[in-house]
């Protein structure tokens, strides 16, 4: 019954997400440079997001998975261009 209700894939996904959170917390509890800290955060956050998408949101299991992935990649691309384009034109360009 436990096995039936707690599939190993989801349990592993959960454990892995907790591990990634612990790794991200290292930037707070350990002394490190800003660059190293940001690198760690970028890596852990994006792995964590991909984990949710594939393990929990079942993004790849239906017939229209190509449409779903295309839409998600498009949205992420727009969000990244918005964030980094803003940083480039409003912050980094004046440093």
């Amino acid at each position: 019954m436990m096995k039936e209700l707690f599939p190993i894939k989801q349990v592993m996904g959960f454990v892995f997400s907790l591990v990634l959170t612990a790794v991200a917390l290292a930037v707070y509890f350990l002394d490190m440079s800003f660059q190293l800290g940001m690198t760690i955060l970028l890596v852990t956050a994006f792995i964590q997001a991909a984990l949710q998408l594939v393990f929990f949101m079942h993004a790849g299991e239906s017939n229209d998975k190509n449409a779903i992935y295309t839409n998600v990649y498009y949205a992420i691309a727009i969000a990244l261009v918005t964030v980094f384009g803003t940083l480039l034109t409003l912050i980094w360009g004046y440093m």
């Binding site: 949710q52 449409a67 998600v72």
Partner: protein, 198 residues
């Protein structure tokens, strides 16, 4: 209504498949919405004026609790969908109820956090930094609040009607929404709190 019995019930009709695809497109728009909020946050975070900085007002303990609670609730809603697919109504309802209780706990901590900010003089009008901070956190918190009501209604519908193509479809779409809020929180946790406290 043509029922496709090969896949899970929530995909069983053409309408159901379109609902799920449509919701993914909505989530795409949500990703862009939070993208603009993060872009504004990174632009304005140093505009603290006479107000406090992030490092001065952020508290690590509540943030860690919020993160663990939301991650766990994302796990339990995933278990609810799994239980739904193996036709276990009581287990589904239990996992959904746990998810909602965890969501409520998250919201409680966030409300505590907002009152803390108010008491240390970080309000919407204090500085560019506090304005975009509270707008970004508030947008996420409003989504969670909305999700709590949505989830509660889904709970009642499954309880009353059991698993039908409609109720399973609604539950699955709700689970997508809830996972998405967890993803957004991961970015808030990393690039607002941890970056601010580093």
């Amino acid at each position: 209504m043509k029922l496709d019995k090969t896949g899970p019930l929530e995909y069983s009709t053409q309408q159901n498949q379109m609902n799920i695809l449509g919701f993914w497109i909505f989530l795409g728009a949500e990703i862009m919405l939070f993208g603009t909020l993060f872009a504004s946050y990174f632009t304005l975070e140093n505009g603290v004026g006479n107000g406090p900085t992030g490092a001065e007002i952020f508290e690590i303990a509540p943030v860690i609790w919020e993160t663990i609670i939301l991650l766990t609730s994302s796990f339990t809603i995933g278990l609810a969908v799994h239980a739904m697919r193996i036709n276990r109504k009581n287990a589904t309802l239990t996992f959904l109820a746990i998810t909602l209780v965890l969501g409520l706990a998250f919201l409680g901590i966030e409300i505590y956090e907002f009152t803390h900010y108010y008491h240390v003089g970080a309000t919407l009008q204090t500085s560019a930094f506090t304005a975009i901070l509270l707008t970004t956190l508030g947008t996420h918190g409003a989504h969670v609040t909305f999700g709590l009501f949505w989830g509660a209604f889904i709970f009642l519908q499954i309880k009353k009607r059991g698993f039908t193509p409609e109720t399973t479809n609604k539950s699955f779409i709700f689970s997508l929404y809830w996972h998405f809020l967890d993803v957004v929180w991961i970015f808030i946790f990393s690039f607002i709190y941890l970056k601010g406290l580093m």
